[in-house]
Each structure stands twice: as C-alpha cells, then as structure tokens.
Amino acid sequence: MLLQVNHLQKIFQTRFSKEKTIALQDVSFSVENGEYIAIMGESGSGKTTLLNTLATLDKPTSGSVILNGQDVTKIKENKLAEFRRTHLGFIFQDFNLLDTLSVRDNIFLPLVLGREKVRVMEQRLEALAPKLNITDLLNKQPFELSGGQKQRVAIARALITEPELVLADEPTAALDFKNSEGLLSLLEEVNDTGQTILMVTHSAIAASHAKRVLFIKDGRIFHQLYRVHRETADFMQEVSMTMTNLLGTEVR
C-alpha cells in the first residue's frame, strides 16, 4: 500500500469569529502502488483542501496521511520542502512554470534544488522527453509555448524526480477540449508505466480517464467507482450519472 489516509479532518476558523467551517470530515481511503485515482467534486466540496493536505502544503486538524509508512502530517516545517521535492510530483492547473527559466531548466528545477548531478539530470530528461513529446521544446522559453505544451512540460517536471506519487490539481482546467483529451491520455500512458497518480477534478471527462473515482461532497467521501477495463466513454456515463444522482448536481 502506497498511501493511506486515515480519518482526516480539517476545520477552518477565522481569527475574529467563532464560526467554524468544516472542510474535511473523517476522510479515509487508501491508494495502491500504480493506481490512477480521481477525486471528484464540485467547487467548495473540499477536494482542494484534501489535495493540499496530501501535498503537505496544509496541515490537517486531525487524522494522518501515511505515504510509504511515513506520516507526512508529522514532518517538521523545515523538512517539508525537501520531502515534497523527493517524494511527490506536482501538476497544477495553471502549469506554474517559471518564466525566468527555459523549458529545460524548468524541468531540471526540482533536481537542481535536490543538488543532483548534471549528468543524471540530462539522462533522465533524455529518457522522458520523447515520451511526453517535448524534445523540440526544450530550448524555448515558457511564454513561447501553448497551454497544452506547457502542461506537458509541467508533467515532465513532476516526473523527473521519479516521485512515488504524482498529485494533479485540475490539470485540464486551463486547456481546451482537444488539448485536454491529449493530456488525459498522456496521463493514462504515464500511469501505464507504473506511476501512481492522484488527480483532483470537477470534470467527469477527466475523472473517467482514471482507474478509480472517489466522489467528495461537503468534506466527505461519498462513493467510489472502479473503471475495470471499460472504455472511457462508458465509464464517463456512469461517473456523470453518479454525480447527478448521489450528489444532486448536474455534470457534463
């Protein structure tokens, strides 16, 4: 078992009012090695809070997150950056590439921060670039790229550290339909090589590319669906239906 989430609870309380907002309530689930999980919910459901907690960007009020036997909620503040760098890979909805760096250097960034040897960085990139179809882009600057290209570069940056878990936060939100489709199948391919991926999304299309979908509403996990060898189109139907029925919301 790669990741185990136990009874996670997160309560927000503003400093000047007694009013509490419960963002996560007794969330428990586990992720096996090589899985591709989508956590689906509408905005305000708590899915981003959940992701931030898993990403160690946010501390839970109670509960634990255990990655490979280590409780990430207990890691000291000054060790967190290093932990994120070595164990996790991130894909953001607005790509978060640094304008000051070339594409190649953006991908190298986490390795440089980890003081990796230049030779190792180049070897890894050489293996990774053709898979993500970014070989031609390496010497460009981020502002010269299209959205789809940027996201592929961001995936390369997430994968180059060979992380145990890749966390994706609405990776298709800033992309058009065609680019979204391309990106989602690319993530599937990445997952096929054995990379564990956890994605947070509100889109049924995006979710239907995963192997398992968890539904979240009002800070609770309500339901889960397994894809089991179905075509994405079929699976999407079911995901969409579930969303409508269980959560009472209409989704695409």
Binding site: L80, A81, R84, D99, T100, P142, F143
Partner: protein, 665 residues
C-alpha cells in the same frame, strides 16, 4: 465633478502607489525651493563674496531643476506602469480614453497642488535650517533669512512645467495603447537577452576613454576642460557595460553547467539574466547617481578641508607684498613707507624673481602659446637669491639650472627657451621660506640660474615675442612679513597710491593732478583676508555639494525602492512556485539575499572604481584652488565614500524589507 471624485478616490485608495511619487515630487520641490529661497534672499548680498556664491547657487539650482525633471519622469512612468491595468479596466467598463486621460490629468493636478502647498511650508522651514548651516560653513555669524514669494513663484512655475510634461507623457501612453494591451501590460514575456559583443566592446572602449582622460590630466585647467567630456564617456560606458558585459558574464556562467545547476546560482543567474535589460538601466542609474554623490561630496569636502593647508603653504608670513622692481629698490622703498607710517614689519623675508613667463611647456621646451593642457608659469631666480633664502650654497655654470616644479611636474633633463637652453643640474621639492603653491590655475615652475646675466636675454627675447604693446619683462620682488591686521590694511591703503614700473622711479599719485603713471601698484595680500575669501568660496561650494549630494542620495534611494518593489511583484509568483516545487523558506531567503547582495554590491563597486579614476581629476581640480595634500584629500574621500556607502546600505536594507514583504506570503 464625477471625474474629480474618481481621481481623488484613486489617489486615496492606491496611496501605496502614489506615495513614492508624491514623496519624490515633494522632496524635489523642497530642495529646489530651499536653494531658490537662499538665492533670492536679500540677506545673501550681505555675505562676503556673495557674487561668486550666488553664481554657484544659481548653477546648483539649474542642476537640481534638471535632476528633478528627470527624476519626476522616472517616478511617474513607474506609477503609470503600475496603473495601466486599472486604466484598461476603466476602458473596458466603458470610459473613453479621453476620460481616462482626464482622470489621470486631474490626479496629477491634485498631486501638484498638494506638492506646492506642503512643499512651500516645509521648504521655508528647512531653508532656514539650511541657511544656518550655510552661515556656519561660510564662517559668518549673523542669521537673517526671510521667505521670498519670488522663490516660491519661480519653483512653482518650474514644477508646473514638469507636471505639464508628465500630463503629456500620461496622455500619450494611454492613448497609444489599446484597452487589451492596457489590461495585459503587466505580464509580458521577455526574450532572453542576446549578449551583444559589439556593445560590450563599445562600452569598454567608452569607459577606457573616460578613464584615460582622467588619468592623463596634466594640469588643473586641463582637468577642468576634460572633466565633463570624461563624465559623458563614463556615463555612456557604464550603461553599455551593464547592458552587455553583465549579460555576457551571466550567459557564460549559465553555460558552465557544474556552476549553473546549483540551487543558489540556478535561480539567481536565471532571474538576473531574465531581467538584465531593465536591470541594466536601473543599475546604471544607481551607479551614476552614487558616483555623482561621491564626486560631489568628496570634491567639496576636500576643498573645504584643505583651505588651511593651502594658505599655510602659500603664506610664509601672514602678509605678502609684491612689487614690480628689483629687490634692492623694493626693500628700501617698503622700509621707508613702513617707517613713515609707523608699521613694524616683523620676521621680514624678501626675494626677487623674474616676472612670470606664461606659455606652454612641452618636453622641456617653452613656447609662447596659450595651450590649456600644458599652460605653465615660469619664474627665474638667481643662485644668490636662493642662497640667501635657504642658506644652502649652490654652484651653477652659465648654462645650468636647478628646477623647482611648485605646481605640476618636470622630468626632462634640459629646458629650452627659444635659442637659450639650460641643462637641469638638480630638481628640488621645496625652497625654504618660499610658497610651495601658486594662486594661479596653471602649472608653476621656478628655475634657479647662476645670475641675472642668464635671465636677461631670455626675458628680452620673450618680451620681443610678446609684441611691442606688452610691458617688457623684468624682475619683481616679494616681501613677506608678519603684520597686524590693522597695519596690513593701512599698508595696503598707502601702497595703493604708488606705481612701480621696473627701473623707472617709484611715483606717487597726487590728488588733483593729471598724471600718466605706468606700472602696477604694489600688491598687499594678507592671510586673514585670503582666508575669508577662500572660506566664503569653499563654504558655498560645500553647501551646494551637500545639498546636491543629499538630493542624489535621495534619488538613489527612490530608484532602489522602485526597483525592489517592481522586482518583488515580478518575483512573488516565482517564489510561490519554487516553494511548491520544493524550495524551503530558508532557501528562499538565502536566494533572495544573495540576489539582493549582488545588486547591492555591483553599483557600489563600479562607483568606487569610477571614483578612483575621478579622484585623479578631482585632485587636479582642487589644486586649481590650491591643495597639494594628497593624504588629506584621500582621507576625506574615503570618509565620504564610507558615509555614503553606509547610507546606501541602510537604504538597501530598508527597501529590501519591502521586497521580502511582497515576496513572502
């Protein structure tokens, strides 16, 4: 009315944007008003040497006005850039560009009125304070400065012109851009700069020329003319240096993978490279301003602090009398006049020399040419005079001379005057009981030769070359003695009625008689009189230097502040991303610090190098007014640099806090 409301609301709501602009506007106004108030104050005329001081103040006022204009434009463009998004939004929400221009002009108008009102009040108070400093610097004791409506009026008009210029800039930049451009202005991608070899070369050549000019200055007058050319070359060179050389250096660092791919260097080098174009201009501005501060302050402080030394070098006794005749005639005449008037001349020293021959001295050859770079005054002295002055005995043959370069240097083995040549037997550094500097701006060379028989033909040839209308050159006598202040005045008065012309009889002007008298009156200068004159000049200079230096430092502070703020905003997102990808807070701080430190040190280091070369010129320039004390000048310069560097560091530390606050969440 609606626009007025909108404009005033804008200022109140984005006060953090308007504050730096408002402050720079106010400070510039106050500085200008202060100078103008003192300049137009009637009490200035009561000061000693007010003429030259008023000239200096006027010059300072012009420099300040130009500086204020440049600075306000810089400041306003920064403000405008930060507000383009806001204007774009107005445009999209349905305001016509004409209306937006109207709003921005109304905003400017409000800032202008605020500047004038607050600036006038503060300026008048500060002018009094500064006037007090000025009076102390000039060595005067009374204090009386009235505020002058004329000064306020003039400064207000100047600032009205500046604001008009800003309004034009604003309306041009708003109407030129489309609304979408206005909205997006803030987030434009920049292509990595190319290092331009040609520009780098040009920059280095330009710096080289500037430095070369500074190093090869030969005389004070030469320094004066070359100074501004050198300054222009150095300013141009500095800009090109930052534009090309630093980019080239960073690119080289980037190519070195083992160096570049280290966490510390990686982020610093890449973000510096990304920003280098805008950085270069900012750094060049800071460097030039810091250098200007150094030069202004070091020159004026150096000048002021070396007055006493200079006067000590010149005044062998506290009063010096110069008479245009031979020593024998001069001494007996002066002794007689002194006795008649009951003036005791204590510790009397007298010596005679030839009149000054002024011309160009090049490679040991003296020519009757007015060439500024090598202008030299030459005086001959006989061996006998030298012996009585110093007590040393010298043996010179007819074609031999001992050389004493009092101002400037002399390295050749012979000196030639037309057909007459003297071989240099010896070079000396000083003559006892003889001034070691001159009151003129040119170089000064004293040649000691065997007897008047050697001097005469040279003088005659020179007189002939000068033409018939010029007075023939002969001998003159200098008598130094200690005389009380009252007696010196009396002596001056009495002697001014006499005319002395070489070997002709000394004549006295008779009242009521028409006489054709030739020759100048004997001149009397006293230490006290000279000291006062120098103090008023150097004090005025120092005052202007302090005001300008202060303004330059403020300018530097503001530029650094703007730089930090704008960079902080650009870097905010980068550092957020870096932290998400895995840079710890401590590492972020370390990266920022090393980046900031580099930007801090670069201008200071370059400015110190610039100053090092300027120092050679400054030294010559100051020797125009008289110092030869290298040690003192070096000390005051180092002191000035240290003080400015400290202030600069404080500014940097303070503005860095602003940067940290923006970048850190």
């Amino acid at each position: 009315m609606f626009y007025v409301k909108l404009a005033s609301r804008n200022i109140r709501q984005s006060i953090s944007n308007f504050l730096p602009f408002g402050l720079s506007s106010m400070v510039m106004f106050i500085m200008n008003l202060m100078i103008a108030t003192i300049l137009f104050s009637p009490s200035l005329k009561k000061l000693q040497g007010s003429g030259s001081f008023a000239l200096l103040l006027g010059l300072g006022f012009i420099v300040l006005s130009i500086f204020a204009t440049i600075f306000m434009i810089y400041s306003y463009r920064f403000l405008l850039k930060r507000r383009t998004k806001e204007f774009g939004l107005y445009n999209i929400l349905g305001l016509k560009k004409r209306h937006i221009v109207r709003i921005s002009i109304l905003e400017l108008l409000m800032m202008f009125v605020a500047t004038v009102i607050a600036g006038t009040l503060l300026g008048i108070i500060l002018a009094k304070f500064f006037y007090l400093i000025l009076i102390r610097l000039l060595g005067e004791s009374y204090f009386d400065l009235a505020w002058s409506p004329l000064a306020v009026g003039i400064v207000t008009v100047i600032f009205a012109c500046i604001y008009l210029l800003l309004a034009i800039i604003s309306s041009l930049s708003i109407s030129r851009q489309s609304s979408l451009e206005l909205l997006k202005n803030a987030s434009k991608g920049e292509k990595e700069p190319k290092s331009r070899g040609l520009l780098a070369l040009l920059g280095i050549v330009s710096l080289g020329i500037g430095y070369y000019l500074a190093v090869t200055v030969t005389s004070p007058l030469d320094a004066l003319t070359k100074f501004f050319i050198a300054v222009l070359f150095v300013i141009f060179g500095t800009l090109l240096f930052y534009l090309s050389f630093t980019i080239w250096l960073l690119k080289r660092q980037k190519k070195n993978k083992a160096y570049y791919y280290q966490p510390k260097h990686f982020i610093t080098v890449s973000s510096m490279l990304y920003r280098m174009k805008q950085n270069a201009v900012g750094l060049a501005n800071i460097t030039i301003l810091v250098t200007m501060t150094f030069v202004t302050l070091a020159t004026t402080v150096g000048l002021y602090s070396s007055i006493n030394g200079f006067l000590d070098d010149y005044f062998v006794r506290n009063t010096i009398i110069n008479i245009n005749t031979t020593q024998q005639r001069a001494t007996s005449f002066i002794d007689q006049v002194a006795e008649e008037n009951g003036i005791p001349l204590k510790h009397k020293i007298s010596y005679e020399m030839s009149n000054s021959m002024i011309g160009a001295m090049q490679n040991g050859k003296f020519e009757n040419k007015q060439k500024l770079a090598s202008l030299t005054a030459v005086n001959f002295m006989t061996a006998k005079t030298y012996e009585t002055l110093t007590g040393n005995t010298v043996h010179l043959r007819d074609h031999e001379a001992i050389v004493f370069p009092a101002v400037g240097s002399f390295k050749e083995s012979s000196v030639q005057f037309g057909q007459y040549t003297f071989n240099i037997k010896d070079k000396i550094n000083r003559i006892r009981n003889f001034p070691s500097i001159s009151l003129t701006a040119s170089n000064w060379l004293i040649l000691i030769v065997n007897s008047k028989a050697q001097i005469q033909p040279v003088l005659e040839a020179a007189s002939k070359a000068a033409g018939s209308h010029a007075a023939p050159l002969s001998m003159e006598t200098t008598i130094s003695a200690d005389v009380t202040r009252e007696d010196a005045k009396k002596l001056n008065h009495v002697l001014s009625e006499y005319r002395v012309d070489g070997l002709k009889p000394i004549q006295r002007i008779d009242e009521g008689k028409e006489q054709a008298l030739s020759g100048p009156a004997p001149s009397v200068i006293s230490y006290d009189e000279m000291h006062k004159q120098f103090l008023s000049f150097a004090g005025g200079f120092l005052f202007i230097g302090l005001v300008l230096g202060f303004t330059f430092i403020l300018g530097t502070a503001l530029i650094i502040y703007y730089k930090q703020i704008s960079e902080g905003e650009q870097d905010k997102r980068s550092f957020e991303i870096l932290q998400e990808v895995g840079l710890s807070g401590a590492e972020v701080r370390q990266t920022i610090r090393s980046q900031v430190l580099l930007v801090f040190f670069l201008p200071i280091v370059v400015a110190v190098v610039h100053f090092g070369f300027a120092f050679i010129m400054i030294q010559k320039l100051i020797s125009l007014f008289g110092t030869t004390r290298l040690g003192l000048l070096l000390l005051t310069s180092i002191g000035t640099i240290a003080v400015v560097a400290c202030i600069y560091y404080l500014i940097y530390k303070q503005t860095s806090r602003a940067y940290f606050q923006i970048v850190e969440r």
